[in-house]
Point group: C2
Chain length 217, copies 2
Amino acid sequence: MEITAPLGLRDKKRAETRAKLERAAVELVLRDGLAHATVDAISDAADVSSRTFFNYFDSKEDAILGVRDLELTDEAVAEHLARTDGAGLIESVVKLLFWVIGPSITTSDLHVLRMQVVKAHPELLSRQITQMTRMADQLTAAIQTLLKKDPAFAGDPAASLQPTADVLFALCGGGLRVAVKEWVTEGSATAHDQSASLTVLESRAIELVREVTKKIQ
Amino acid sequence: MEITAPLGLRDKKRAETRAKLERAAVELVLRDGLAHATVDAISDAADVSSRTFFNYFDSKEDAILGVRDLELTDEAVAEHLARTDGAGLIESVVKLLFWVIGPSITTSDLHVLRMQVVKAHPELLSRQITQMTRMADQLTAAIQTLLKKDPAFAGDPAASLQPTADVLFALCGGGLRVAVKEWVTEGSATAHDQSASLTVLESRAIELVREVTKKIQ
DNA sequence: CGAAACTTTGCAGGTAGCGCAATAATTGAG
DNA sequence: CTCAATTATTGCGCTACCTGCAAAGTTTCG
C-alpha cells in the first residue's frame, strides 16, 4: 500500500493538479448537481484545460470519487494476506476487501464531502461496486488461498473452491457495503475521526456477516 | 409477475420493435465489440431511427442488457411469499430472488448471448448490478417479513432487521449469480431443457449458500 | 547549457443522449 | 366508415463526454 512520496517538482505539481481537480469536482457537484457540473466547469475551477482533465481521469465520475487505479499486484495481495494471518475466515476476507476499497473512502479530507455527494447522487455508488468487481477475479483467487488454509474447507476438491470463494466474496462484500451505507448516513451528522471510523467500519462489516451466518438455517 | 399480454396492434408492434432492438444490440456487440456497436448501427439493424432507439431505452447498455422496468408490485411479492410458505430461510430468499430474475433468464433466448457479452465486456456488470439494486428496496423489505417469521430472528429489534436483510440479500444474490454462471458455461455445451434446468438452477444456488454458511467460522 | 522526457493545450472528430416539433400510424367514438 | 384523439416515429439541433494527434511549454539530468 505504501506509495512512494513524490520528490521532484514535476510529481509535486501533478499531485497538486490532481488534488485540485478532485476538490473542484466534488464541490461543483455539491453546488450545482451532477448534471450541471460539467468537465469544462470542473477544469476551469482547477485552472487547467478540459483536455488536461482527461490526462488525469478516465471519466467525470472517477474525478468525483477520486478513483486512482491502484494496480493491485499479486505480491501486494500476498503480502496483505501474510500480515493478517491467523484471523478467522470471515475476518480475513472482510479485511481483504476493506483493504482494497478503504483507501478510496478515507484517503483525503474530501471524504466527508464525497459522502454527501454519494448521498445526493446514489447512482455513483454503482461505480464503487464496479471498481470492486473489476478486481473480483484477483480477489476471489486470494480468497481461495484462504479457503485452502481453513480446516473446514481443507478437504474440498479444488473445483468447489471457486464457487465457494465467489459466494463468500458476495457475502462479505455485502456486509461491507451495508457498513459503508450506515457509515455514510450516520457520518453526515457527526464529524469523522478518520483513523477511528476506519476500524469501526471494518468491524461493523464483520459483525454483520457473523450475525447472519450464525443465525441462519 | 404476470404481465398482461399485449392486445392491440400498437402494443404488439412496440414489443416487436423492442425485441428487435435488444437482439440487434446483443448481436452487434458480440460481432463488433462494445465500442463499435454504435446506437446508429443497432438502430439501423432494427430498422428504426436512432432517435427511436432512445424512446425505448435510456442508454445503449440498457438495450444490450434488455433492461425493462417491470413493476414488481407489493401484492405480487406478498402472494409469492404466501405460496412458498413453510420453507427454510435460505430457501425462501433464494426462491424469492429467483422468482424475480428467473423470467429474464428464460424468457428470451438472448440470455445466453447476453452472458457472453458481459463476459467479453465486464464493464457492463455495473449496469447489471444497478438493475438488480433497483429492486433491492422492495426485495429486502420482503426479506424482512421473512426474518420476522423466523425463530432465530424473532426477538431482534426492527432496526437490526434491515441490515440483516441487506446482507442476506447479498449472500443469496451471490449464490444465485454463481449458479447462473455455472449454468451458462455448462449449458453452452449441452442443449438446455428449460423447465428441468430451471429448478436445478434454483437448488444449486441454495446448495451453494448452505455450503458456505455451514462451513464458515 | 542542452538534449531527453514529460506535461499541457488546442483542435478536430466521433458518440451518447435529450428536447422539440412535424409527420405518421393506431385507436375508439360516433 | 370517418374523423378526432392519442401515441409512435423521425429529423434536427444542441450539449456533453471522451480520444488521438501534434505543437508548444516545462522539468530533469548529464
